[in-house]
Symmetry: C2
Subunit: 191 residues, 2 copies
DNA sequence: TTGTCAACCGACTAATCAGTCGAATAATTT
DNA sequence: AAATTATTCGACTGATTAGTCGGTTGACAA
């Protein structure tokens, strides 16, 4: 199962990730990616048909890595609330520990690059998310909403939490991540 | 107070907005912007020192327009909850009615372009937001949070709401916007 | 009328970029 | 060992791009 992927290919993907996050897609010449990866331009185009394929590969691979990291930790026991809290914390922590990867995903998602295809393919690695959404809707514990909103809501709160802790690294603590979860799930108002 | 800004300059900014949203910054040649605006390249560089200045101007102008549109409607009467609901709905509606403008702001905010300077300058037009945040914190109606999070939380929920309605235009209705507000403010769980 | 200046044009340039190609080398197969 | 194939290289090319420049036009002032 462990593919023996070329070291050079990995080096190219790593260099590309860093450069894309720092300089944007079009402002990052393939020549620069190659140099940073310590290979020749020709080698880059040996592994990737063109720049677009490199970007798509990087996106899919990054999303997969994220999906696997989180799925690994995912427990299917406990109350819905507890499991959601765990899931939330795992995702937020991944975002905090892998800032470049998360920035890249955000950048890509907000760029005109993304096609319906790559979006959906990436979603495949988050089946458990779809499952838990269905469970949430069916549980009766939620306010009456249509599922499409729950999806966007979840993505949105993950995003805002990770963005917040990126902007304010001094606020990162187990306690604050819990606090953020409480606010997103149970509201910001005391009632 | 009403600056008599050249029609051509406006045409350039309008063309740039549309092209940037569709194709990204670096993938949009200045020559194309000029053509779409119906002017010569030279004219573009007559109004803007370089491409970067054009992008910055567009960002600042767009944020200002948004800020003014919302401030205009902003009422300082009623309960905190009611005023927040009104503010939320105004912002979300602006995002829905001005999709390209909002996309552009998102795209720019998520790109490596943005400098601390442009970010802060843009924030100037949202004083009332800062005010209401301070009021929120002081009111005792909120859970105990530090203000930095409230800022990021507000930005985040505006974002997720507008993104949601962009993805699902069929869901746009006064009722649903209210629903989304309720969920973001009072939690997604029934308790 | 003459002079001035800002708005405007588009051909042009120097630089940069994505991607090619033929050759060299390393790994694998026969 | 010989032949075949995969990996790697980097100089090169054709296309594209940001920005320039010399000149034209039209408005307005002296």
């Amino acid at each position: 199962m462990t593919k023996d992927v070329s070291e050079k290919k990995q080096a190219i993907l790593k260099a590309a990730l860093e450069l894309f996050v720092d300089r944007g897609f079009h402002n990052t010449p393939t020549s620069l990616i190659a140099r940073q990866a310590g290979v020749a331009t020709g080698t880059l185009f040996h592994y990737f048909k063109n720049k677009e394929e490199l970007i798509d590969t990087l996106y899919l691979e990054t999303k997969t890595k994220m999906g696997q990291a989180i799925q690994q930790n995912f427990q299917n026991t406990g109350s819905l609330d507890e499991r959601m809290r765990q899931l939330f914390k795992d995702i937020v922590k991944w975002g905090i520990l892998n800032p470049k990867e998360y920035r890249f995903i955000q950048q890509f998602s907000n760029s005109p690059f993304i096609t319906k295809l790559t979006r959906d393919t990436a979603l495949d690695h988050f089946e458990y998310l779809t499952n838990i959404i269905n469970e949430l809707v069916g549980s009766g514990e939620l306010k009456t909403v249509y599922p499409e909103f729950i999806e966007d809501f979840l993505e949105g709160v993950f995003n805002l939490a990770i963005t917040h802790f990126r902007r304010h690294p001094d606020k990162i603590s187990e306690e604050n991540i819990d606090l953020v979860f409480d606010i997103c799930w149970h509201g910001i108002f005391v009632t």
